[in-house]
Amino acid sequence: MKMNRRDLLSLLGVSPALLATPPAHAQQTKTAHAAAPSTEQKFEALNPKGTPPPVRLVPMAPRLDTLSGKTIYLVDTGFMGGGTFLQQMQIWFGKNMPDVTTVFRKKAGAYPEEDPALWKEIKEKGNAAIMAIGH
């Protein structure tokens, strides 16, 4: 399935067919079905969806001018293979951008969990981070 990034905020995982708020006429939202005979009985059926929480837009952090001379943390989120992948990335930086310092760290806890101590360390000692997920 192709995703358009520009549509993501409005879609939020919900079908575009569901975006209207007044009662929707199901026929209008489909593409492949012939209109029903006008004499056929129509029904009004309820939406089964729950209520998602509001989304707070988070502005991205300002970018760096260059990576030269900077320290980048390579953070393994814990999925299988992610750590080894980032260690190869360290080798890549060593060969191709030797003036970049890389620091490898494995994030504490399960993959969705925050690691405040590591975030603090990166903020104090690093200039940027790359977080990698395996599989």
Partner: protein, 428 residues
């Protein structure tokens, strides 16, 4: 962190990563993609990924990573504020056939026909509970920590219950399920399974089947209470979208209506499961399990022994391949439970203790297993490869529910862990 960050994801998780970033308020997050998989690849293969292209953009991967950290932000990337995700119109109007197609096309079904949730049918369903239609029942997410949870009301649960084919008297059990916030379609690559054990008077009140064929398609309450759980897990939390909020690589047939197990308390020699968890026998309770799949236990060591088959040996052998990340749930026909009693296992706790001591594995083998771990703590330092240790450190990893119609002394078993038990009566 307030620092530029480049997240990296394999191509198989593209839709999940993009939609989840949007749901978390960063719809333009600069995600860089690698080929899939990373797991199981050699160092040389991983390095080749880095030297190759991002499979989404088609541009050199490491250039994408560097650009993600250094390219100036666009106006869209700097936006702040709040938005409320839309979930669509409150009602849909059309003919019966078109509505069926509409619900199906928009991912609101299990891809089988539904009962259309008209206002009349939903109102009738709401009569099955004393709770107000607008009362918030709980919050659910396809994966805790990964997706922000959605909330839902009694009425929203009722819509799903109607769609599943449930009747109003089933509704308190469905609400009890919903109140836990446990999704039956947990978003893991592991195609996980959820189970609900039903105990107490509600089983007979609803004429649930706990006898012959109890876990098959032979009972309306068993079938539709389970189906409602799946539909709620798709609709109440935005879950069950394959590739976005459901990532089970192969999926699991049990997810259609889940493992709904009313315990056969009448023919069981053991304490009912809910009483084990501190409820009174006269209370109606649903208890939840979660984990890998369910398998049969017909064959196995000891079952040919006479006069009483050595069920305990078979149960141990059958659960031995399980991952110790989850426990073992045994679904025993009453003939098995009574047979175990004849062998001296008078309680569930006794058979659990025996299985914990006698289901063993070598340290060397554990080291090669996925989702099984070695003991932690001081004793870990003294482990050697040839040592034989219990696969599960505690007896509470083993749970037992009696179900079946006594046509043969069989058991089934799941690599499942107990999660919690909740009152059904509370939702009546």
């Amino acid at each position: 962190m307030g620092l530029p960050t480049a997240p990296m994801v394999t191509i198989a998780f593209k839709d999940l990563a993009l939609t989840n970033a949007a749901k978390r308020g960063m719809p333009h997050q600069r995600i860089c993609f690698t080929p899939h998989p990373v797991w199981g690849k050699t160092d040389a293969q991983m390095y080749a990924y880095l030297e190759g292209n991002d499979p989404v953009s088609g541009k050199p991967l490491m250039k994408e990573v560097i650009d993600a950290l250094t390219k100036p932000l666009t106006a869209e990337e700097s936006l702040s504020g709040t938005s409320t995700p839309p979930v669509g119109a409150p009602t849909f109007i059309d003919t019966s056939d078109n509505l069926q197609q509409y619900y199906l096309d928009n991912g609101m079904t299990d891809f089988m026909p539904i009962i259309l949730p008209t206002q009349e049918k939903v109102d009738a369903m709401l009569k099955g509970t004393s709770h107000h239609p607008d009362e918030v029942v709980g919050k659910m997410t396809p994966a805790q920590g990964a997706f922000p949870p959605w909330s839902y009301t009694v009425k929203q649960c009722a819509v799903n219950a109607v769609m599943a084919g449930a009747t109003p008297d089933y509704f308190p059990t469905i609400l009890a399920n919903a109140s836990t916030g446990i999704s039956a379609l947990f978003s893991s690559t592991n195609s996980l399974v959820s189970a609900a054990i039903i105990n107490g008077p509600v089983r007979d009140k609803l004429t649930m089947n706990y006898g012959i064929g109890a876990m098959g398609p032979f009972s309306q309450p068993n079938a539709t209470i389970g189906r409602a759980w799946t539909l709620m897990s798709k609709n109440l939390d935005g879950g069950g979208i394959a590739g976005e909020t459901y990532m089970g690589s192969q999926g699991n047939i049990i997810n259609y209506n889940n493992l709904i197990v009313p315990e056969n308390e009448k023919d069981s020699p053991w304490t009912p499961f809910h009483v084990q968890k501190g409820f009174k026998p006269e209370e109606s309770v649903v208890s939840f399990f979660f984990g890998f799949c369910v398998t049969q236990g017909q064959g196995g060591k000891g079952l040919g022994m006479k006069p009483v088959p050595h069920f305990h040996e078979a149960m141990s052998a059958n659960c031995a391949p399980f991952a110790s990340l989850f426990g073992a749930l045994f679904l025993c026909d009453p003939l098995v439970a009574n047979g175990l009693g004849d062998l001296g296992f008078k309680t569930k706790e006794q058979i659990g203790d025996w299985l914990q001591k006698n289901t063993t594995v070598t340290v060397k083998d554990v080291k090669t297993m996925l989702f099984s771990g070695l003991p932690r703590g001081p004793e870990a330092a003294n482990l050697t490869d040839d040592m034989v240790i219990p696969k599960w450190p505690k007896p509470d990893a083993f749970n037992f529910v009696v179900v079946g119609g006594q046509t043969n002394p069989y058991h089934q078993l799941g690599n499942l862990s107990y999660r919690l038990s909740v009152s059904i009566d509370k939702w009546a």
